[in-house]
């Protein structure tokens, strides 16, 4: 017992101060990409298309766009010859609408809090059932991190629970494989109404790097109605936490 107490003292207190302040992120963390207004260098549409492994960077009638829902934050687009893409180091990537993830010069993803009825119900106690639906387990790993002493998710009244029957919503990760399509839908259906669904990671939003596979359903939106999109590959735990809190109307830095 004495040794346990002694070790407890040495390990120290580790919970981050978020949302009072933002804990330090790795210096090379890329974070939110930002598009810069400006002319494209000639012929660069062909270059753009060849830069991005998931087709997140593209060009349409409104000009250059970056679909954060497909982006795996690999940073390849920083090689844009016109210098039109740069990374800001901002961890706030979540959005409440799929369109909100299509970034153009001057835009950024926005989270609108839940409508009053669900917000009143969930703001102080939100129980989520996690559905791992075909990803690589990195998103799951970083959701698990939220439960450790570092983020201590329970202090916000948010918990991941063992059964959809105990839950107020689901958090889906992975591109939703053909083999998980039914189980994903069944699990969501087992959550009592009113409920919510959160897509965590590029795979769950759009299929990510697996979007081209015949075995992928292209993410959660085709299977469940999504209320919050958390981009990243995988999203930093702070990105997930920030998205969840803002969805519940808790102010974050």
């Amino acid at each position: 017992m004495f040794r346990i107490l002694l070790e407890r003292l040495q390990q120290g207190r580790r919970t981050v101060a978020f949302p009072e302040s933002v804990p330090p992120l790795p210096p090379r963390y890329r974070g939110r990409p930002e598009l810069v207004d400006g002319p494209c260098v000639s012929d660069c549409k062909a270059v753009c298309a060849g830069l991005c492994p998931t087709g997140a960077l593209g060009f349409d009638h409104d000009g250059l766009y970056l679909d954060l829902g497909r982006c795996i934050l690999c940073g390849a687009c920083a090689a844009c010859p016109g210098g039109r893409v740069r990374f800001t180091g901002d961890h706030r990537l979540a959005a409440t609408s799929r369109e909100g993830l299509i970034l153009r010069p001057g835009t950024r993803p926005e989270v609108n809090p839940l409508e009053p009825a669900r917000r009143r119900l969930f703001a102080r106690s939100l129980k989520l059932r996690q559905i791992s639906a075909g990803g690589c387990n990195a998103c799951e790993a970083d959701i698990n991190v939220l439960g450790t002493v570092v983020y201590d998710l329970g202090r916000f009244g948010i918990d991941f629970v063992a059964s959809p029957r105990h839950a107020d919503g689901v958090a889906v990760t992975g591109p939703v494989t053909e083999n998980m399509r039914q189980a994903t839908r069944d699990t969501f259906d087992a959550v009592p109404d009113p409920r919510l669904a959160i897509a965590v990671g590029a795979c769950a939003i759009s299929g990510g790097i697996f979007a081209a596979s015949a075995e992928s359903c292209g993410g959660a939106p085709g299977v469940v109605p999504v209320d919050l999109y958390v981009p990243g590959c995988p999203p930093h735990p702070l990105t997930i936490l920030d998205g969840l809190l803002r969805l519940l109307g808790v102010p974050t830095p």
Binding site: T54, I72, G147, P234
Partner: protein
């Protein structure tokens, strides 16, 4: 024919054997102490042939055998159990029937390559092992489990509390990774291999780099390899710490569980010092590394490692000094060395049974020293041994990192790779990931693109070991056995 793991072979040099010859040679090798590291179908002009790779651990030799097109052959499994899952996979992917296979069922519940539009098996719906008897009851779990964990379906056949047999049915995570890689390499390739199993990002991307390097005959830049090797050991530290924490949680020993959950994150954050990503995305590329570790980051890493060492050892000391923990660990989920050998186990579960299998020593990556990390062995084969091997490996990895950080090689971090790969060749990449041996095999076609790309995650060898370890245990021992193996679902399902 025998070859070294750093050498690529022209396909034409690998003789086509008759089916009888092929089978006999594989069985002879296994009887001589070799193990089957890969067995897969290679599509050709006239059909699909078989390719088998066997490896010998004490001298790092590999041998490859292949046949011409085949649609059926006498199964190897009855005489060589380590082939059983490979043969099920062959049947599922290519409709090549291993005749006499004792339990020929789908592995990933996916349509076959020849008939992608054919009827689709439904996941988890198959003939399960059944035990008859009035006292026998069955427990079915999954695919969606109680924790934040990947999907799989488990069937326990129990008499009272006693588990007679556990059957594991996976395939839910099947994303078609191997099929996406065929026709490459292209800009997606490095990202696909990094996401074979997210927690083994470095292991898989390093195995892929080794494949491409031996195909092109270009060595990696020493500084790039130095960075990749350090990232590989950081990955091992993070996951072994996480496993020791999870094992503590499963026996209700909360101090170590809480500390290790946090310390695991500290190790992941050290990986992020290299590249900004906690899982090491974008560090390893064929030819070396894509990111450098500058002087400031090197000093910071050394500082954090020292703190990480103290914290991790402090947390482990509590665990291994607690009699209540040891009482639960010792004797639970025990495997013998013979069983481990027959099933072809790799990684910490094999080393916990006394099998000296460590690819860092047997199949060292070019530019690394086979003696740079001592072998961590135990021979009890139980949960305690698997935990202890991890604890010992924390120490060897930390020592390795300290030594590596003190002696950074200079020069470029990467070597440019040629645009195309040489046609009609076979190469392997072997890396000791934290979970065990990660094995990639690439075969290029006449156009220099991947005609076949085979990935064997250590989990593929080890899942059956977990099923056997649970025989004669109680259902309540399952979490403990499961965590002590900590296998990948997505690495298996691909």
């Amino acid at each position: 024919m025998e070859f070294s793991h750093t050498q690529s072979l022209p396909l034409a040099d690998i003789p086509l054997l008759s089916l009888d010859d092929f089978r006999q040679r594989v069985l002879d090798r296994v009887a001589d102490g070799w193990r089957v590291t890969a067995l897969f179908g290679l599509p050709g002009k006239d059909g699909v042939g078989l390719v088998a790779l066997t490896g010998r651990d004490h001298d790092g030799k590999l041998a490859v055998f292949r046949t011409g097109p085949v649609t059926a052959y006498p199964s190897l499994t009855p005489e060589c159990p380590q082939c059983h899952l490979f043969e099920r996979e062959l049947f599922e992917q290519w409709e090549i029937r291993p005749e006499g296979h004792p339990w020929l069922k789908p592995v990933r519940f996916a349509p076959s390559f020849p008939h992608p539009e054919g009827p689709r098996p439904r996941p988890g719906i198959t003939d399960f092992f059944k035990v008859q008897g009035e006292e026998v009851h069955e427990v079915a779990v999954g695919p969606v489990h109680a924790g934040i964990i990947e999907p799989g379906h488990f069937r326990f056949q129990c008499a009272g509390e006693n588990v007679l047999h556990l059957e594991i049915s996976l395939g839910y995570q099947h994303r078609g990774v191997e099929r996406l890689l065929v026709g490459g390499p292209d800009i997606r390739t490095p990202h696909l291999v990094e996401t074979v199993a997210g927690d083994t990002t470095i292991g898989h991307s390093l195995a892929h780099a080794a494949v491409v390097e031996s195909l092109t005959g270009r060595d990696a830049a020493p500084r790039g390899r130095w960075i990749a090797r350090m990232a590989l050991e950081l990955e091992r530290l993070a996951n072994h710490t996480g496993d020791l924490g999870a094992l503590s949680g499963d026996v209700g020993f909360l101090p170590t569980m809480s500390y290790c959950g946090r310390i695991r994150g500290d190790f992941l954050n050290m990986t992020a010092l290299f590249c900004g990503n906690r899982f090491g995305r974008g560090i390893v590329r064929p030819g070396g590394a894509a990111v450098d570790l500058d002087e400031e980051a090197r000093v910071e890493l050394a500082k954090r490692l020292e703190a990480g060492r103290r914290a991790a050892f402090g947390a482990c000391e509590l665990l291994f000094a607690s009699s209540t923990v040891l009482a639960r660990f010792e004797g639970t989920g025990r495997l013998t060395a013979t069983t481990a050998q027959e099933l072809g186990l790799v990684g910490p579960p094999a080393r916990a049974c006394g099998l000296s299998r460590d690819a860092r020593r047997t199949f060292p990556l070019p530019g690394t020293d086979p003696k740079d990390i001592p072998l961590s062995l135990h021979d009890f084969g139980d949960v305690y041994a698997r935990a202890l091997v991890r604890r010992l490996e924390l120490e060897t990895s930390l020592d390795f990192l300290d030594k590596a950080l003190a002696d950074p090689p200079t020069g470029p971090i990467g070597r440019p790779m040629p645009d195309g790969l040489p046609p009609d060749r076979l190469a392997v990449g072997i890396v000791e990931g934290w979970r065990g041996e990660v094995h990639h095999v690439a075969v290029t076609g006449p156009d220099g693109r991947f005609a076949a790309y085979k990935i064997i995650d250590p989990s593929f060898h080890n899942w059956f070991g977990l099923a056997v370890a649970l025989r004669g245990q109680q259902i309540s021992d399952f979490p403990l056995c499961n965590k002590s193996f900590n296998l990948s679902y997505c690495g298996h399902d691909l």
